[in-house]
Amino acid sequence: MSVLVFIDQADGQIKKSSFEAAGYAAQTASLLQTEAVGIVLGDCNDDLAALGNYGLKKIYTVKDPVLNNVDAQVYTKVLVQAVEKIGADVIIFTHNSTAKAVAPRLSVALKAGLVAGANALPEVGEGFTVRKTVFSGKAFADVNILSDKKIISLSPNALQIAAGSGTAEVEALQVSIPAAKVETVNVDKVSGEVSLSEADIVVSGGRGLKGPENWGLVTELADLLGAATACSRPVADINWRPHHEHVGQTGLAIAPNLYIAIGISGAIQHLAGVNRSKTIVVINKDPEAPFFKAADYGIVGDAFEVVPKIIDAVKKLKGVA
């Protein structure tokens, strides 16, 4: 028995959230008094042995051009074979678009109960219980997995995982690879932007910014902080910003270390998507904005006066002229 973590990669680079999942897998393995190993599908140029720093003993690789696109059906067939060969009982994913496509299929193929969007390590005394967010971040549920095999898909930024030191052995795994039924004809990625779900800091704007032409304030502050940019639902709906930036109940749910909301009143649906952020800053000219109740720091003031001053202060702090 062992814990197997799916190491997700894009364009040959391990995704940041996969390091967190690796550390989570190692800690889960130690609770179960077993070892954690990882698996990478497709071409990956990153230093896989360095995943040993997060406690993984071994990394299995499967290379085939078919695996360079995520086809949930192909990935599942490959992972089923890997799980059997490795003898894994607990499989860990990071809860991103790959996991959302693959983990449910694997759950059926292995008849393994799935906790999607976990926030904490499993409790392994009686049963095997994993905490996850429900009601779009407004509550937690402790979910017991009843099956012998178990799958956990970990929310990005759920835990603080520190890197230690270690070297993982890397081994190619022989499995049969089925043909893909889905043909990927085009991939269109925005390069250079910080991924919103993985970002440590997020700067977000709402209708209080009055128009898309004023978004320079948000992007300048975000660039200075190495942050991702986000927006409220009305802003995405009126096409001031692209839909993939929409955070909230019907958009993306995020949990960065720092969330800065500029000109967002904080409707309950917006809060649902951001209330797991560790520190929340709200800048709004309306002192009655409900967002202040959910904030750690607040400024009542005009964004067009306050934000440039914040930008100057951050520049000073970072030593940027």
Partner: protein, 247 residues
């Protein structure tokens, strides 16, 4: 073409979230129930649009739930669709719900099966993938655009940091999100017509739960906001650096 759209009943997005029975049950008192927004605004409305373009399309809705789901099923039928099937089952986990829908789907021989990308109560985003695996069909998750021509679907789906365009032959399972369609409001003709559309109730097939919720918990309240004067935003940067240590 035959389309099946899976719809779930969820609390309204503004519902107060609270629990009873020693935090083991969701408190339903005073809660307004709606069609899960992803199922309604994106999966169902896109399916209706496809039927409008190809009127011989057969559009079925499926829900796994008890009789208290009927009002939201009627609302869905008021938007569109030819008939609905409710699998009479409560207290099923994702795996069990997917197994119920899979049984309905096998009977119906559908070309397209649409789900929302997730429900807003359990946020598992699991049903589509589970269903696809049970039916051994390809699965495209998080679709933002969907078109079909001569049995080949062209789907744009959201991936980390961008979008991907896929081509796949039907039958296929697709989970739908923002971009697929625009929200619609049922009109009077639709509401009247929905009353006479068939709503079939079928008993569940045997399936197990692989998970169970032991307890719910509300997050701890925030300690309280620290207000900073608008004349001195530099103080905020100092606090974020020295006190919160986040920048």
């Amino acid at each position: 073409m035959k389309i099946l759209v899976c719809i779930s009943k969820t609390p309204d997005t503004t519902a107060k979230i609270a629990f009873t029975d020693n935090n083991t049950k969701f408190a339903t008192d005073g809660v307004q129930w709606i069609i899960n927004p992803y199922d309604e605004w994106y999966a169902l409305v896109r399916a209706i649009e496809l039927k409008e373009k190809a009127p011989d399309t057969v559009l079925h809705l499926v829900n796994v739930g008890l009789a208290d789901s009927d009002p939201i099923i009627r609302k869905a039928l008021a938007l569109g669709g030819d008939e609905a099937i409710r699998v009479n089952s409560g207290n099923a986990d994702s795996y069990n719900v997917a197994a119920q829908i899979a049984a309905v789907a096998k009977d119906g021989n559908y070309d397209l099966i649409f789900t929302g990308k997730e429900t807003i109560d359990y946020n598992n985003s699991s049903i589509g993938g589970m269903l696809a695996e049970m039916l051994d069909l390809p699965y495209i998750s998080h679709a933002v655009k969907f078109d079909i021509d001569n049995g080949t679907a062209t789907v744009i789906r959201e991936i980390e940091g961008g979008e991907e365009t896929d081509k796949v032959s039907v039958p296929v399972v697709v989970s739908c999100q923002k971009g697929m369609a625009e929200q619609r409001i049922p009109n009077m003709k639709g509401i009247m017509g929905a009353r006479s559309k068939p709503l079939k109730v079928v008993e569940p097939v045997e399936a197990e739960n692989l998970t169970e919720v032991k307890a719910f918990e509300l997050p701890p309240p925030k300690a309280g906001v620290k207000m900073i004067s608008a004349d001195n935003p530099e103080e905020l940067v100092k606090l974020l650096h020295e006190e919160a240590r986040v920048i």
